[in-house]
């Protein structure tokens, strides 16, 4: 594994909480690794498992998903449905041989800029240690 391996992370963030949380990190000048490419979605309920599979197919080393804390969904219950999907999708990709560390779902509120930054830093470190997902 090359020493300077920089994992590619695709992040899907809900517009109302987690994207605002990432924004909060930015405006508060809290840094986090630039390995994550963020895609803003209206709600974690919008994140089709297709997106996750597509990211891994296209060569992502990790997929990060964040939405409002349960109970705080802007659309009342979008993240409750999403939670079930994410649980099953996690089981499926692990079964296919994608290490479960490569897939992370977290609840991040608009005020949790610091938490967002810490999560991304830790996730990036973990992926760097795992090495590229597609070997060779």
């Amino acid at each position: 594994m090359p020493v300077d391996f920089q994992p590619k992370i695709i992040g899907f963030l809900c517009n109302w909480c987690s994207y605002a949380g990432a924004d909060m990190a930015g405006t508060s000048r809290i840094t986090y690794p630039s390995n994550i490419r963020i895609i803003r979605v209206p709600c974690s309920g919008r994140i089709d498992p297709l997106f996750i599979a597509k990211c891994f197919t296209e060569g992502a080393d990790g997929v990060f998903i964040a939405g409002c804390h349960p109970g705080d969904c802007h659309y009342i219950e979008g993240n409750y449905y999403a939670r079930r999907r994410f649980a099953l999708m996690g089981d499926l990709i692990e079964y296919l041989g994608i290490e479960k560390e490569r897939y992370q779902v977290r609840w991040v509120s608009a005020s949790e800029g610091k938490k967002f930054s810490q999560i991304i830093s830790a996730f990036t470190d973990k992926l760097a240690a795992l090495g590229p997902r597609i070997k060779g």
Partner: protein
């Protein structure tokens, strides 16, 4: 191995329903061109009912044909597994209960079927089945069965796969998916795959590229398995029809196992219970988000 009594009851019922005009067609089984294995049969006339048979080669899940026959009332011969498929279709509003007359058959097992070969080995799914009486029917054929057998264990091959290292899993599945020629027989034969436009056929956005290569094939098979989570009733038809022998049931059985563990749900037991991915509990954590 044909039970003459069962066959007679099917034929009599079919004749009665066709003759009195209750239905227009009977979806059942007849003997195939190899003279030993069954194939689906569509009977429209009372005088044709003698084509109908039933034996342990009747592996096809005929509920998959109900989507083609929505216009007129039909009768359908179902095994217990197929009966659960009917519940799924009813629950998803794909068929109307009044238009389907269900002839349920008490079933012990079906054997592995391949054209021109007569097998005596029960299908793996049948070995762990503990549902021998259809959960839904209008007319039941076959005697009572002791259903007190212990609840089935998760299939051994799923547990074995779970125990493998990530690297070994990748090797196994890449090997399997590299064989896929995307004939989509798994989709075509599946009662649950009724979408008018399947994601794999979409061009804009194009979720799966045209190239028939391992990553695209994995994408296809992964998402198909996901789309069947909580809906698959384990008829195993996808694995049976795969011309290159990809063990697709290994994916579906895993998903059903997880659906059972996370949501205490078994698909098709009732048409009223909400589907697990179309419902939620507020206070379940599922290990997500923490």
């Amino acid at each position: 191995m044909m039970d003459k009594n069962i066959v007679k009851q099917i034929r009599d019922k079919a004749k009665e329903l066709l003759s009195n005009g209750t239905i227009k067609c009977v979806l059942g089984y007849e003997t195939g061109t190899d003279g030993m294995n069954a194939r689906p049969a569509f009977i429209y006339e009372p005088e044709d009912v003698d084509r109908l048979i039933f034996d342990n080669t009747c592996t096809h899940n005929l509920s998959t044909y109900l989507r083609d026959k929505r216009e007129n009332p039909v009768a359908i011969v179902v095994k217990p597994c197929d009966a659960r498929a009917i519940n799924v279709l009813l629950g998803e509003r794909q068929i109307e209960r009044e238009k389907v007359f269900i002839i349920g058959i008490v079933c012990q097992e079906v054997v592995q079927v391949s054209w021109g070969e007569l097998s005596h080995d029960a299908q793996m799914r049948c070995k762990i089945c503990n549902q021998h009486t259809p959960v839904i029917y209008d007319f039941l054929i076959g005697g009572p069965v002791d259903e007190s057998a212990p609840k089935a264990e998760p299939p051994a091959n799923v547990t074995a796969m779970e125990g493998k290292s990530s690297g070994d899993k990748v090797d196994f599945w890449s090997g399997q998916f590299s064989k896929c020629v995307r004939c989509y027989a798994c989709r075509a034969v599946c009662m649950g795959c009724y979408c008018t436009v399947c994601f794999v056929d979409m061009l804009d956005p194009e979720w799966v590229g045209i190239k028939i290569a391992t990553p695209e094939n994995q994408m296809w098979n992964t998402i198909r398995a996901f789309h069947l989570s909580g809906r698959c009733i384990g008829c195993g038809e996808c694995a049976r029809v795969c011309p290159v022998n990809i063990p697709l049931d290994l994916l579906n059985m895993k998903m059903e196992k997880e659906v059972g563990e996370h949501f205490e749900f078994v698909s098709g037991l009732s048409s009223e219970e909400p589907a697990p991915l179309a419902s939620f509990l507020k206070d379940e954590s599922l290990g997500i988000g923490e």
